[in-house]
């Protein structure tokens, strides 16, 4: 958590220090824009992490699909979204994973804040 930003619980500001920390991790996830990158990752996940120079901690978090840890280790949500996409997960799947809810519970949380769609 950067000291230059306000404390917002459950939120990590992706700033310069985080971008430095997560550069290799984000670069790997950026490569998932290409089918070749996605296939190479699927073929050998750990070796692909090593190729990009992830730290052991980052690699472990990738292998465990620990998104909150990846955020703390410098992951940017834009690139982690590509990782999620590779895993076949959508935004409600990863919303649940990050908030300790099932996908259905996460959807219910979204709906509870809604308007204009059966929500008055």
């Amino acid at each position: 958590m950067s000291s230059t930003h306000r404390e917002v619980p459950g939120t990590i500001f992706f700033d310069g220090p985080m971008s430095t920390k997560g550069y290799a991790l984000n670069k790997m996830c950026y490569s998932f824009n290409n089918a070749e990158g996605r296939d190479a990752f699927r073929a050998d996940e750990a070796a692909y992490c090593d190729k990009f120079g992830l730290t052991e901690e980052q690699k472990e978090a990738i292998l465990k699909r620990d998104l909150n840890k990846l955020l703390r280790l410098g992951g940017s949500v834009y690139y982690l979204a590509k990782f999620a996409g590779l895993l076949g997960l959508n935004m409600q799947d990863i919303g649940g994973m990050q908030t300790g809810r099932t996908k259905e519970e996460f959807q219910a949380y979204l709906d509870s804040q809604g308007r204009g769609k059966n929500n008055g």
């Binding site: 939120t11 700033d15 824009n33 590509k82």
Partner: protein, 279 residues
């Protein structure tokens, strides 16, 4: 001189593009959202703008962390879309524009904005989803697009006040362009949402509605927020309001709202749509 004939705000989330690809527009989940768009499409069809200036943010297709402009201005004759990694279909090339865009580049520098000038960039869903939803069947190639990309990913990000001022500078540049082109301006993204972390899923519909109201009547009030304020009030990606503010800045002077729709949740967001014209 060229003229800004109107401003449009719209969500740009990938789920919209995926829903269109799958033909889900009339399903219960989507129908209230898509029902908002026909009046805007009809307006575009009646007005036949020549050029669209589109404020968007790149989500890691063209602009990775290695070289990430704070503000970027496209000056290219064409823009390609490409695989973004998670399954949204790639759309046909977008037609660009190289005369007004260079004029805007000159005028921005003259007025103390120093954007990155781009002659070859790929554009992602931030730009392609709004075009796809306004022109079903990808019938947008007659429209010349000027992409303006704003960093909404990594801090430091441009302040809301600065994004509004950028829009004002672009609006003045359009007015000083020797031509009779009709220009529509798009502010894309938003509204409240947070994709990342333990706080993922926050939506603030009251704030979204307030933003839509103030975008019409008192946009300066919105420029008083900091990006940290927006994160706290509207979620980490609530900073995409900056693209809406840039759009509003282009519409120098008073505006009236011709059309509005707001639906939440659409995916994880509050999804707003507005059509504004100068009063």
């Amino acid at each position: 001189m060229a003229k800004v004939i109107g401003g449009i705000t719209t969500s740009h989330i990938p789920a919209i593009g995926i829903a269109m690809d799958k033909g889900l527009e009339d399903t219960p989940y989507w129908k209230d959202f898509f029902a908002g768009y026909p009046p805007v499409r009809e307006w575009l069809n009646e007005q036949q703008p020549d050029i669209a200036i589109v404020f968007y943010n790149d989500h890691g297709l063209e602009m990775f962390l290695d070289k990430k402009p704070t503000f970027a201005l496209g000056c290219a004759p064409q823009y390609e879309n490409a695989d973004e990694g998670w399954g949204i279909a790639t759309i046909p090339p977008v037609t660009g524009e190289t005369e007004l865009s260079w004029h805007i580049a000159n005028e921005l520098i003259e007025h103390d904005f120093d954007p990155t000038i781009c002659q070859d960039i790929k554009v992602d869903h931030g730009l392609t989803v709004p075009l796809s939803i306004m022109y079903p069947g990808h019938n947008y190639q007659h429209l010349k697009v000027i992409p303006v990309c704003i960093n909404c990913e990594r801090y430091p990000m441009p302040k809301p006040s600065r994004c509004f001022a950028l829009g004002q500078a672009i609006g003045k540049a359009v007015e000083s362009f020797a031509g009779d082109q009709k220009v529509v301006v798009f502010g894309t993204g938003g509204l409240s949402h947070q994709l990342d972390g333990e706080r993922a899923g926050i939506i603030n519909s009251d704030f979204d509605i307030e933003c839509m109201d103030k975008l019409v009547s008192d946009p300066e009030a919105l420029t008083k927020y900091s990006n940290d304020d927006l994160v706290e009030i509207a979620g980490a990606q609530g900073v995409e309001l900056n693209m809406w503010l840039a759009m509003r800045g282009c519409m120098l002077g008073d505006v009236k709202e011709v059309h509005r729709n707001y639906v939440a949740p659409i995916s994880n967001t509050g999804a707003g749509l507005q059509l504004l014209i100068n009063d």
